[in-house]
Amino acid sequence: MAIDKRVATAAAAMEDVGDGATVFITGFGGAGFANVLIRALCECGPRDLTLVVNSATHPASLTHELIAAGLVRKVIASAGRGRDPGLSVFETLLRDGKIEFECVPQGTFAERIRAGGAGIPAFFTPVGFGTDLTRGKETRQLAGRDCVLETAITGDLALVRADLADRYGNLVFKYAQMNFGPAMATAAKLTVAEVREARDEAIPPERVQVPGVFVDRVLAVGA
């Protein structure tokens, strides 16, 4: 059957997502948030999710809606602090011990996801050595530097925002929209992309930034 990964509705994009899933969500620095898919996931309503997202509280991302809806058991992120002096929903839950948080240096966060998609179960990095964020981790001196052992993150679902897709699932990003998209697309069992436009004709090979083989479903959502 001729491959066509485009789906017509957000509900179809979220089919088969179950309780307890580990979910990657793209977005950083105000670009690349998969907000249509996040909302669809909210409506789908799976429980006990583990979110892997750069920030638990970025205002431009709807991640907080998943958290506010009580669907999230744990967040793995490099940022969990709201911008306001008051507490965000996430911070309130965290204070009350109702949500788990694993704070990861952003480069280690990116590399752990990349490792998950690349079949590297663990790696050493100098980042974080001697800090609170790596307490209890195995350490080793390598190439003259103190390093910590970090493990891969893999997941069940990735929600990825991109600009353009084609029927084969190939993705093109606009500028800084790319951020965690390629890594998360490779590390999840099921990768769903929301894009401005999903074309029937193939994207020219030199423009592809995530090969369609890493993408399972594509939802066109407009600008």
Binding site: F28, G29, G30, A31, G32, N54, A56, T57, A60, S78, A79, G80, R81, G82, L87, S88, F90, E91, L94, R95, F101, C103, V104, P105, Q106, G107, T108, A110, E111, I113, R114, T125, P126, V127, G128, F129, G130, T131, D132, L133, D146, D163, F173, K174, Y175, A176, Q177, M178, N179, F180, G181, P182, A183, Q209
Partner: protein
């Protein structure tokens, strides 16, 4: 209190950015440094969200919503610039491809230990971002911060009291009153604002600090705060 304002501190740090270098600027005062680069220096500013060649802020009528830096500022891309993904952006940082990162900070210790990510605000969630990666792995880590806390306590210390960002990573600190090198022998002031005496500097610093034999007056042009 005599001393440099935010833009002047950024200006002073910018004077030390070498021609042709690759530089990452932290959120806050450091990012102002790009406005004060001396004429004729051709530099690529990297942002840890993947932008290589961050240009000036975008004019209101030329904003590209997805062209932002790690601080969510709407920016432009300089000629020769491009955008890579987060994995590669941090591979670039961790791999030693950033010549200098200039970061804001809370505390720097005399051995170069650095604290800038967790000021222990009650109940606020943790936020580390790319600070640990940058501080630990840039070829040089410079810090811009006020010499003292709002309560007057020292930020240059014998040992950090706040949670560390990275160990033994800072080589230079730009404060409102001094430019301080972190050396094998501890803090050495390279420049000092004329209104602050050596005794004042020592009183305001939480660890032994030497004056370089050629210690110069720290001065900056008049700039808006």
């Amino acid at each position: 209190m005599p001393g440099l304002n935010r833009n002047q501190m950024a200006w002073r740090a910018a004077q030390d950015i070498a021609d042709g270098s690759v530089v990452n600027l932290g959120i806050g005062i450091p990012v102002l440094a790009s406005d004060h680069l001396p004429a004729g220096r051709d530099v690529f500013f990297q942002s840890e969200n993947g932008v290589i060649g961050v240009g000036p802020a975008a004019a209101a009528d030329r904003i590209e919503p997805d062209l932002v830096d790690a601080g969510s500022r709407k920016i432009t891309l300089r000629p020769g610039g491009c955008v890579i993904d987060s994995v590669w952006a941090f591979a670039m940082i961790r791999g030693g491809h950033i010549d200098v990162t200039i970061l804001g900070g809370f505390e720097v210790a005399a051995n170069g230990d650095f604290a800038n990510w967790d000021s222990r605000i009650p109940n606020k969630g943790p936020l580390v971002g790319g600070a640990m990666d940058l501080a630990a792995c840039a070829r040089a880590t410079w810090v811009i911060m006020e010499h003292n806390t709002r309560k007057g306590g020292p930020r240059l210390l014998a040992a950090c009291t706040l949670p560390l960002t990275a160990m033994r990573c800072v080589s230079r600190v730009y404060t409102d009153i001094a430019v301080v090198d972190v050396t094998e022998a501890g803090f050495v002031a390279r420049e000092l604002v004329p209104d602050v005496s050596a005794d004042d500097l020592r009183a305001r610093t939480g660890a032994p600090i030497a004056l370089a034999p050629d210690c110069r007056p720290l001065a900056a042009p008049a700039l808006p705060a």
